[in-house]
């Protein structure tokens, strides 16, 4: 990749990323959100984040792997359980990561 191509990729990525994030803020004083949109928006974080991580967890090698020997699935299930049970973000993250690495490296020794 030449310097010129690199600069073009980064400016293009900057333009679309910032554009998406700023577009509504730019006209925030004029935008009026209909009530049903407001109601739908509260589901956005759960829907988007679930859609990002589910394939990572269930298809770590591009194939579906439902077994508990899949460290991604095991780590995610434990993190999910801890999250529902205690609702403490830091605990959820640390326990999940710990189980993932034990499953990935500990069990293969």
């Amino acid at each position: 990749m030449t310097l010129w191509q690199g600069a073009l990729i980064i400016s293009g990525m900057f333009a679309v990323t910032f554009g998406v994030r700023f577009a509504l803020f730019a006209r925030a004083d004029k935008v009026v959100m209909p009530a049903f949109i407001e109601k739908a928006l509260k589901f956005v974080p759960v829907a988007v984040l679930t859609a990002i991580i589910t394939p990572m967890v269930l298809m770590p090698n591009q194939h579906i792997d439902f077994s508990l020997s899949n460290p991604w699935l095991l780590g995610a299930l434990v993190a999910f359980g801890v999250g529902i049970w205690r609702q403490q973000q830091l605990l959820t993250i640390l326990v999940g990561v710990l189980v993932f690495f034990i499953a990935k490296y500990g069990l293969s020794l």
């Binding site: 577009a23 974080p45 269930l58």
Partner: protein, 244 residues
């Protein structure tokens, strides 16, 4: 409360996700160097684009020698969810000066939205101080993301196998930590299950379109199964108050 205190509250609320983001930033930097990209390219991307998952997808596409328009349009689609976050935050930023909205727009990431949005809900952020809380969150993520990118680039050159360690799992755990507090009603469970199932079924779609389609399906399922039609009852309440 002073500006510093408000910013500190935003940063403190972000600490769990900052910890979750550290391995992810290291991984990004080390992947970039394992692809043989210039260290400056990775550093500049983190500084100017500031979008974790889109930066990973872009690296993958660069590795496949995809044309620039594919890289840019995929970035657009992967980040389209931020438009939905922005739509939700419009009511909290409309009174702010344009320069503040520019900065807040640049810093609108999943983690800052997840950290600050609930604070508006419980009243620990409001019209007067919300943007300061937000800035505290944004700046702490920005510093973390850029520092870990640089460290990742440096360590990726020293420790070649680092990109296979599975550091991406930190992002999975962080997102699970964001999702679980929402799951208090049936509608959110339905949203989760339908978005998750769709993302597997649609995983083969090109350019990450499956992600966007699954997100829309999840939102729609949550929306139709939501029993709390509070919009109308709130309206009734306010009408009654006017009548008093």
């Amino acid at each position: 409360m002073s500006t510093m205190q408000d910013m500190r509250r935003g940063a403190v609320a972000s600490i769990p996700m900052i910890i979750g983001g550290i391995p992810f930033g290291l991984l990004f930097g080390s992947l970039a160097s394992s692809y043989g990209l210039s260290p400056w390219f990775a550093v500049a991307m983190s500084a100017f684009v500031f979008a974790g998952s889109a930066q990973f997808v872009a690296l993958g596409l660069i590795g496949l020698h995809a044309p620039i328009w594919v890289i840019v349009s995929t970035t657009f689609i992967v980040n389209l969810r931020h438009l939905l976050y922005a739509a939700d935050l419009v009511k909290f930023v409309k009174h702010l000066p344009m320069s503040m909205r520019v900065i807040m727009g640049f810093g609108l990431i999943d983690e800052t939205y997840a950290a600050v949005r609930p604070m508006y809900e419980v009243g620990s952020a409001d019209k007067k101080n919300g943007h300061k809380v937000y800035l505290g969150s944004f700046l702490s993520f920005y510093v973390m993301w850029n520092v870990t990118t640089i460290l990742g680039v440096l360590s990726g050159e020293l420790i070649p196998g680092m990109s296979e360690w599975g550091l991406e799992f930190a992002m999975v755990a962080t997102f699970i930590g964001i999702i679980t507090p929402y799951l208090k009603h049936k509608a959110f469970w339905l949203c989760l299950l339908s978005a998750g199932a769709s993302s597997i079924i649609l995983a083969g779609l090109p350019n990450n379109l499956g992600l966007l389609a699954s997100a829309v399906i999840g939102v729609a399922m949550g929306f139709i199964s939501d029993p709390s039609y509070k919009v109308t009852s709130k309206l009734d309440d306010s009408i009654q108050e006017v009548n008093k």
